[in-house]
Every structure is written in structure tokens, then in C-alpha cells.
Symmetry: D3
Subunit: 247 residues, 6 copies
Amino acid sequence: MTDFIRSGQRAADQLRPVRITRGYTIHAEGSVLIEFGNTRVLCTASVEEKVPPHKRGSGGGWVTAEYGMLPRSTHTRSDREAARGKQSGRTQEIQRLIGRSLRAVFDLKALGERTIHLDCDVLQADGGTRTAAITGAYVAAQDAVARLIAQGKLGASPIRDALAAISVGIVQGMPLLDLEYLEDSACDTDMNVVMTGAGHFVEVQGTAEGAAFTRREMEQLLALADKGIAELVALQRAALTSPLSKQ
Amino acid sequence: MTDFIRSGQRAADQLRPVRITRGYTIHAEGSVLIEFGNTRVLCTASVEEKVPPHKRGSGGGWVTAEYGMLPRSTHTRSDREAARGKQSGRTQEIQRLIGRSLRAVFDLKALGERTIHLDCDVLQADGGTRTAAITGAYVAAQDAVARLIAQGKLGASPIRDALAAISVGIVQGMPLLDLEYLEDSACDTDMNVVMTGAGHFVEVQGTAEGAAFTRREMEQLLALADKGIAELVALQRAALTSPLSKQ
Amino acid sequence: MTDFIRSGQRAADQLRPVRITRGYTIHAEGSVLIEFGNTRVLCTASVEEKVPPHKRGSGGGWVTAEYGMLPRSTHTRSDREAARGKQSGRTQEIQRLIGRSLRAVFDLKALGERTIHLDCDVLQADGGTRTAAITGAYVAAQDAVARLIAQGKLGASPIRDALAAISVGIVQGMPLLDLEYLEDSACDTDMNVVMTGAGHFVEVQGTAEGAAFTRREMEQLLALADKGIAELVALQRAALTSPLSKQ
Amino acid sequence: MTDFIRSGQRAADQLRPVRITRGYTIHAEGSVLIEFGNTRVLCTASVEEKVPPHKRGSGGGWVTAEYGMLPRSTHTRSDREAARGKQSGRTQEIQRLIGRSLRAVFDLKALGERTIHLDCDVLQADGGTRTAAITGAYVAAQDAVARLIAQGKLGASPIRDALAAISVGIVQGMPLLDLEYLEDSACDTDMNVVMTGAGHFVEVQGTAEGAAFTRREMEQLLALADKGIAELVALQRAALTSPLSKQ
Amino acid sequence: MTDFIRSGQRAADQLRPVRITRGYTIHAEGSVLIEFGNTRVLCTASVEEKVPPHKRGSGGGWVTAEYGMLPRSTHTRSDREAARGKQSGRTQEIQRLIGRSLRAVFDLKALGERTIHLDCDVLQADGGTRTAAITGAYVAAQDAVARLIAQGKLGASPIRDALAAISVGIVQGMPLLDLEYLEDSACDTDMNVVMTGAGHFVEVQGTAEGAAFTRREMEQLLALADKGIAELVALQRAALTSPLSKQ
Amino acid sequence: MTDFIRSGQRAADQLRPVRITRGYTIHAEGSVLIEFGNTRVLCTASVEEKVPPHKRGSGGGWVTAEYGMLPRSTHTRSDREAARGKQSGRTQEIQRLIGRSLRAVFDLKALGERTIHLDCDVLQADGGTRTAAITGAYVAAQDAVARLIAQGKLGASPIRDALAAISVGIVQGMPLLDLEYLEDSACDTDMNVVMTGAGHFVEVQGTAEGAAFTRREMEQLLALADKGIAELVALQRAALTSPLSKQ
């Protein structure tokens, strides 16, 4: 087992350069372009003053997500899901994950009878789109909530903790943080981890693509994820404390 | 935190009664009714002597799964997916999980250019349908492979290891093995674990439904899963060594 | 014209062994596994305390049916209708037939503003699935109605008469009762007959698969159906008077 | 039971005025407007020099049908099926019936590897659209076959017998031939009968809308159908022997 | 550039024979068969006493259109859109054009909270189906409005001006009015023009199929359209002043 | 008629600030972000080395387009078309327009048997998305063609002329160039014009939203469009002669 060399001399436990641009588009209540290296995802948060049927009359709100990839965000063009007339199983799985993750840090009761729609659209893909989406959607949600507070519609924030996500995996026997596309294609084990600012797990989804993985490998991966997420949470905080200047 | 009392005096680390009936229906190459307590899933394995487009000409085979619930397998009737004209995100997520898990123990090259379709249909649901489906589909796949060997179409089995799955979760602070429906509805954390006979992980999917969970809780859950899966693998082995008597 | 020999020395006017298992699953208000030889159909009756739009405010209820075949209930695997995204014309034709037939013995006014959903799912197919479905759905409907009476929601039964169905056909010139799959494939004329306990017709659907049939042949077929249905009605009555023991 | 008075003093066993216009449109190989009173159906036969997958390489041909109603062919406007994105169960049932009926008089082997598509579109509906469609489609098919013979593509006709269809029913206890819409809405029993020129049955589909019907009533209905179909076959023959003048 | 010879010695600026038959079918409030040469479109206007959601409570009405082609209205049979499960982009584009055009001459406020549905179904196609549809739908709409006035539901007509449409194009360098199918296939530029009785434009849709067209060519085409539409408006007026005799 | 004041003191015949960013994303053969003021559309050109069925074996190529809006590119969030399962009529109309327009400047024969897919995705909408899409797609197509030439797959460019598009309209009686959203909502007449570098028309689509428009108004609008498109073609040329620096 020789060590795998990452592009750009990146260390095994190093994130790609992360860039968080708030106010990327003008109409949404929250609009964030998040970049994990070459992966670029536009995350918007839209507030709607009503809730889906299963929450009506409950007094509580809802947070939901949709995910899409532009047809040529990838190396070779993929079919447009709108043209094919259905979302793939992968798309649905990812948007369910994003929505579930965000709801884990929301006090839905405190949100009131309104819905926050998180739209995560991949402009450019190079691995880790779902984790970038969750990390960016959290920032967009914060901006949308801040606006609700500024408008006097909410007295306090219903967001209880920070939230970020990162991928980890084992490539040629080596545990790596934040896989880019080529690493993801080559990995034996791929894990997506979603954690709160307090360092607790919201989601852990590990898959053996090649050989099954051991408990020890799992622990190495979780430790890497823990480190990466702490860094992401710091970057989110920094982005959120900068003034929001509309493009 | 008072201890949660399980139905039927079941211990926290105890599986529900498991029943594996091979040859449950007559047409499929493998046909298994698996029961985890009141959860009953019919798993059939069908051999088709061709492969999907992405495997054509590769010399290798394919293993894929579909999942469904009969409309009244649940407490209240659900809409029939065929009538609604689409499978839910949940259904797609589960059938992707089943297929991916089974492929993890298959040497697709050794299977030859043929497909094994695993159909997992829930006749009665009481929690844990996806883990029962994986555990039963493995047995059905074994029967289908045995028939291919008996027919001289395969010289040796392409199945490299046993495979089983179980759910674990935390209910009122207490880690539990093999959640039934009421426990699943009440749990804070829900985790589905798929492991090989060798005790390695194929899939780990943990979700915080309520509070986020800690590393220590995760370790408790993985230990429970490990114990449960070892028992399931023994039950599969026992079932597979009994003579297959068609109903 | 030499006589066609039926499998198992069955006489031309003889039903296959019929088995009716009530309480086959636990959640539905009525749940019946009906077997006509190797044909096995699970029929559940679900009560919903509302009616479809066209009956709203009418004071009357509704009875409707859905039908499905598990993908490997047949000799070779069929596509799953939920995955294909639509029900076939055959499926729709059969479920419309089941619903219409059951409504013929229901006093919908007396049912009150509620709906009985009959789900007929074929676990194993060997000819005659639609007639088994109607015959089993009637028993499931009786159990659902009995529960409504036991709950005090209904004072008297809205079911006015018994209902059963059977197939008849002409194979190699010979009129046969209750066709199994091989006979059905070989027949010149195939007829499905639905009758009440009083011996009157609810549906007659005869189709010349090969040569057109004469009035005399039609009369022979109706006489066979009449005999078979009288026997089925007796079997239904016997099943309904046994105590219902949940599996 | 007082006698039901039919519109226009029509006798119980009398057809509505039937008009068969050949060459109604110019592009199709056969194009027939058939009128049963106010019911008007445009039936075209289109020849395609290939067959569907299940007939490929068989040497034989195929005959298939599609059916549709213009949105305002009825008293109140119905949704357009193309806009709704699916054909109703009723539409599918009817087009399957038309196709099956026409195939019953075709020697598919003698047709050669080609398909005849029969499109039956209801311009105006007043009951009996499916029986008018079958009766008209037969004439359109004859014209299409005649053209194939004239072109030297066929040496002899693959059509073995004439084919027509009529509805019969019991209204206020009175058996009636060829129900118009108001009669159809009021009837207790409704039966569609498809017969050959030789007077044999191709399809019999009887449904008790209200009370179940007796064997004696069934015989009365079949006798009425027999009379009506003999008249329709004569009208078809007369239409087919007139010169075909394109509109 | 040699002159293109039109079929039937038609002059470049001459319409095909136009025939407008009111009362073509009996159920619709307005029902018009319009023929431009061999192009035949059935246009019905149906009045519904409610409006779509976006107009509810506005006090105003709505006018909308749907368009379809019978499968064998064309030279070779096209797939039935209802069977394919979706309307083509072309169909949607045309029906949006028809609806928009008709609304341009309607005072929707004066129509009151009701909807006029215009269904334009092509029975036979030979070029210009969308312009025939608009021209015929206008006449059908007039008949529907006349009935609303006769019933006392409207005091005055909400239709503010006449409306007609025609195609123009350049074939082998020659500007032509009212293209038939062969001309349409051969043309370099194709333009559909919708105008009011006052001679103003409602829609102009010009497309270069081959070479891009110049401003001067555009002016020639608009002049031709102007002439054609004046003639169509006169023909509409004549048709509308004849007594409406139901077929 | 008082003069309408445009935002930012824009003159009636003045374009919004136009920005063309080539190489906006890294995977596509051509990738252009085009901005008309606040309208921002990402246009990618993807080369595929095969053609759709209708061009197979023709020796010639194909150019086609798809269009989409991100759900929150607009003032209020719209449903995601992929989630709804179908593209709206508007979407289909626009993508047909883009594809048709681009094909008008392509020598498809000279392109060879390959397809250029143009994906135009609106990131932010403020009126004129379809005209920005056409103008940007032309630049992306140029980049894709340049790459084919650089790779030696093409000897010379199959693009015969420049192509750009602009909207014009009449607002409060005043003809305006390049409508932004508020102007578009208020306009009486809205026209989209697509022209070549040589100043000829490829598409003219004018619609009276309010009052019908006169010939004189049409001429004013066409003159405005002519001016705007000449400016856009110059901006395209400038963008294409700058070095392409990948972001």
C-alpha cells in the first residue's frame, strides 16, 4: 500500500479551498454560492408563508430541500431531469438527506407556520456536491431567518445549532477527507457525515464501494470528518459575520 | 431516563423471532419469505440471461433490486405506487440500498453476463422492512445461484460472503436492537447496518430523528448491530442447509 | 376431437382445490388469502371514513378495487408497474371489473359515507387470478363489514347477496371449468363469469381467442360457471362461519 | 313494468339509422365515418410496413386499435386525455376490445409482416360508441386491405369473415337493441356483443348496472343482438359494394 | 428565380377555398368545422361556469384553447399523444397561441366568472392547421357567446373585434398566401399572422426555415397576410349571419 | 401618452449593460455566463459524437437546445420542473426557439455527424431570458466549434454568420429596446427578434398582450431590434476575440 498522492499536494486530512459567497443572486431570501474546490453549488433559501398539508394547523413550520445538477455540470453531459420527466433515485436520495439534515437543527415550532425551501443546484461538480449543498444551505437558511427577524416576523432564531457536512473515504487503503471526483471514483469506502456545531452526528452514511470496511477504518473516517466539519463550521461563522453585500 | 419496556419482554439486545421460509412461491429461482416478528417480506430472486446496457459486453453480470409495499401492509392503507404512477423517494432509496448491498458480496465477473433481479415485497410491515429485505434477498440469491450451478451454467458460486442487515436505534436514551414500528416511531436515532459474514461493514446509515447522537452512542449501536447480524448470519446458514421443500 | 386431459385427473367440471384463509395479515379490516390451486391472491379490505369526490355529500358510500401482480408471481418475471410508472391496460381492466362486481352486491346507501378499498395482489399466478380475486375480495369485504357492525358504526350489513367468480373456457373443443394457466393459453374461448349467491349474473365476459363460439357453446359454458359458482359460494359461507383466528 | 317509450318511436328491436361514409378523410388507407343515430365515430385504417416487437420475424402481421373521444363529443366537456397525460381505464378497455375483435376475423399470417392501425375517434357521442367503432373499423380495414391487394402487396384478403358489434340492454325490465345515451344511463343491464358474419360470438360483455340478470334475460338480449348484427353486416356489405368516392 | 406553380392554378395571393360549417356537432355551445382547402379542423367552444385558480374571485372570465391532431389526419400516421402520455412541444405551442389570440379580442371582465374552452381538433391536415383553428375558433366562440346572451347570462357580447389568422411564406423566392402542406415543406420563410377585424396585429410569428429573410420580404409577407385576413373576416361575417341549422 | 421613465435613466433605445463571461464552468466545450442587466443565463455547449435518430446516416449533424430556470431565479419561487415531472409549455416553446435559431446559422452538413447540445439555464431572471440565452448560446457554440477545430475534428467552422436576439416592446405607447421584467409585465406589445450578423431575420415573434398593434408600431419595433442586435453582435465579437481564461 503506497500512499495516494492528492492533487495540489493536498494532505489526507485537508479540505479543498472553501469559498462561501452570500447574496449570490438577488431574489432569494438567502442565496449562497458555496465552493469546495471545483465543486460549486448555488444554495437558495426561499420563505413561503404556508406549510405543506401534513403540517397545516400544527402551528409549526417546515424545512424542505430540492437538489439538481445542471446537465453540463459534470464531465460528460447528463440528461436534464425535467426533460426526462422524472428525478433519479440519486437526486431524490440527496434532496431527502439535505432536508432531513437541515430540519435536525431547526426548532420547527419556533419557525411558525411557514416553509423554508432550500434549492441546491450544482453549477459545477467535482465530488462532494451533497456535502457542499448541506453546508451552503445552512448559510442560506441563516440569511433567510435573519431577514424574517429583521421584518419582525420572528422574535428569535429557530436555528438551534450550526450544521455542516463533509465526505470522507478510503482510497488505496488511505483515509482521506473531502474527496474530489477522481478520488470518489477510486475509493473503496465512501462516507458522508453531517454534524452539528456541537460535534454531534446528524447523519452518517457509509458505503463500501469495493471491499467491506472494518470498525477501525470507520473510526478513522469519523475522526477525519470531525476535524473537517469543525473547520467548515468556523468558515460558515466567518462568512455569516461578514457584511452581506449583494453582488 | 427510565428504561423503555419492549413488547413481549424482549431484551434490548434481542432480535425478534426470525423465520426464513425458502421456496415460498413456485416460479422464482429463489423465493424466500422472511419474518422479523410481524414484519413479513417476500424476497424472490429471478435470473435473466442478459445484462443492462452499462454492463453489455463486459463479460460481467449484474445484481439489482426492487422494493414495494402492498398498500395495506401498513397500519393505514397507503396509495399504490403503480396507481400513482411513480415510486416514492423512500422506495427508491431502499431498493438502491438493497441492490448495492447485495452487489457487495457478489463477484459480478464470476456471475457471467446475466442479471439477478431481487424483488422484495412487503406483505406486512412492523418496522425493519429494509433490513429484513436484505437478509432475505441474500437467501433467495443463494438459492438462485445454487440452481445455476445445478444447471451447469456456473461452475462455482460468485457469492463471496454472507450478508445480513439489522436496524438499531436509541429510544428514550436506550440503545435497542431490531426496532419494531412503535419503537422506530419513538426513536431519537435510527441506524441501519449491513454487514458481511466476516463482520465487516457494507453500509451504515444513521439518522438523528430527534437529538443528534454522540460518538459513544454510535459505538453502542454498532456493537448491537454486530451482535444481531452474527445471529442473522447463523439463521441464514441454518435455513440454507435445510432441504428446500417447495410449499 | 379427442378429450383434453387435465392435470391431476381433474374432471372437466371440477374446480381446483380452493383454500380461503381469513386474517392472513394483521392490519387490514379484512384480509384473505385465496387459493385456486396454485393461484394465490391476497385480498385485503380497508375501510376509510370518507368517499371520493363524486360521492361526497350523497350520504352513500363507495367500494373500489385495485389489482396487482408481484413481478415474479408469473413464470417469467414481469416489469414492476410502479417502476414503469403506469398500470397496464390489463391491470386497469381487471381492477375495474373487481370494483364493479363488488358494488353489485353492496347497498352503497346503507354503507354510509365511507369507502371500502379492496386490494387484490397476486402472490402466485396459475390462471384465474381475477376470478380468485373477486371471490376472495367478497370474503374480505364481509370481514370488514363485520368489524364495522361490531364497532357500532353500522347497524346492519349493506351486503345484499353473496358474490363469486369463475373462469370457463373451451379447450380443444371441450368446455372446462376453472382454467389453469396452461389451459388458458391453449383455449379457443375464455369466459369469466361473476354471479350472485342467488344465481344471477353480475358480469359475463366471453372472448373468442381462436375461433368464434356458438350459442350452444355459450350455454354449455354458462352451465359450467353456474355449477362452479354455487360451489364457491358454499366454500365462502363455510369460511365465513369458521372463527377468524389471526395468524 | 310499463313499457319504456324510445325516442323517435323506435321499436325495442330496431337499430337507430346507420350511415357508413367511406373515404371520409383523404390520407388513410381506409377512412370511414360511421353513424348510429347521433353517435358519430371516425374510423381510419393505416397500414405500416412493420410489426411490433412481439411479432418480429414471425412472418405474421398485427392488427391493433386506439380509441379516443374529442373533449366535447359528449354532453359536458371531458378532459383531453393527451393533456391529462394518460388514457383512462375505460379508453384502454375499449381499445383493447376493438383490437381483439378485429384480430378475430383476420388471418394474421396471411396479412404478412405489416400492421394495420385502427384509429377510432368519437366526434359525437350518444351511446354505443364502442360498437359503432368496431362496426366502422371493420369497413375501414376492408378498404385498407383492398388497397394492399390493388397494389399487389397481397394476393388475397386475410379477412376471413365480416364483423360487427351492437349494444343491448334491459331498461325498466324491457330488452332493447342499440341503446342511446339516455337509455344506457337508465339501464339495469348493459351488454356489448361482437359477432361474425357467420353469426358466431367474438365477444360478449354483459354487466349488471343495477339488479343482476337472469339466464332468461341473457337469452333475450343475445337474440336481440343477433338480429341487430345481421342487419349491420348487411349494411356493411352494401357500403363496401358502392363505389368509393373520396369526399 | 422561376415562378413556383401552385396546385389548382392558385394565384400567389389567393386563399384556398374556405368553408365554415356552424353547428357541426350537437353538444357544444359553439361547433364549427372550418376547411382551408383540404385542411379540416373541428373547433368547439364549451362554456363552463367557473374559472381557473388564477382568476378566481377576480370577477373576470377566461378563454383557453386545446389543440390536437387525429393520428391519421396526416400523410403518415403519427403517435396518439394520449397514448404517448404527453403533448408535444409543437402542440403546446399551438394551443398557447390559439388561446392567447382569442383572449386578445375578449373583454374578460365582461365575460363574467366563466371559462370558454376552445377545442381545435384537426380531422385532416394539409398545412395551415393553426391558422384555420384560430379562424374557426373565433366563429365557435361567437356562437357560444350568442347562446349566453340568448340565455340572459350576458347582456352584451364581450367580444370586441373579429379575429382571423393566415400563414404566409416565401417559396423559391416567391411570397405566397395560405401555404398548403407541400409549399410549407419547401418554404424558406414561414410566417403565421393573427389580426383583428380592424386590421391590427395580434401575433406575428415568422421563422426562417432556410435563409434568413430581409425587411423587404417581411413587408411583402405582411401585406399578403393583411389581404388574406380581410377576406377571412368577411367569410366569418357571412357565416355568422346565416341561420345556424344544426346538422 | 406621457413618457415612461426606465430604471437607471436608460434611454428607450438603449440596451442594459451586457456582460459575456466565457469559460464560466470548466467541463463544457463552451461555457458562457451572459448578463443583460440583472438577467443572468449560463449557456453551455456540449459536443456529442452522435446524432439523433432522424439524422442518423445523413452525414450531417444536429444542434439542439434545452432551457431551464432555477426555481428561485425569479421573484417568487417557481416549482422545479424536474420535481413536477414535466416541462411547461413556455419552457418547451423557448427551447424550441433557441434550437431553431442556432440551427439557422449552422451548416449542419459541415458540422459532421455530431450533435451540439446547448443548455441555457437561468440563474437570475429580470426579463429577456430567452434573448440572452440565444445571444449567449451563440458564443458558447463558437467556443465548442473552436475546440473541434483545434482538435482537428473539423477543418473549418460550420457557423455561417453571427446570431443574436433581443426583446422590444411598447410600454405606455412608447417603443422600448430590451425590456426588463417590470417593463415586460406592463407592456402592450412584446416582440422577440432573432437576427444574423448580416442583419437578416431568423425569427420574429410579436404578441399583443394588451391592444393589437399597428404596422407602423411594428416597424418602430423592428428598427429598435435592428439597432440592439447590431450592438450585441459587436459585443459577442469582442468577447470572442479576448483570450479565453478559464475561471
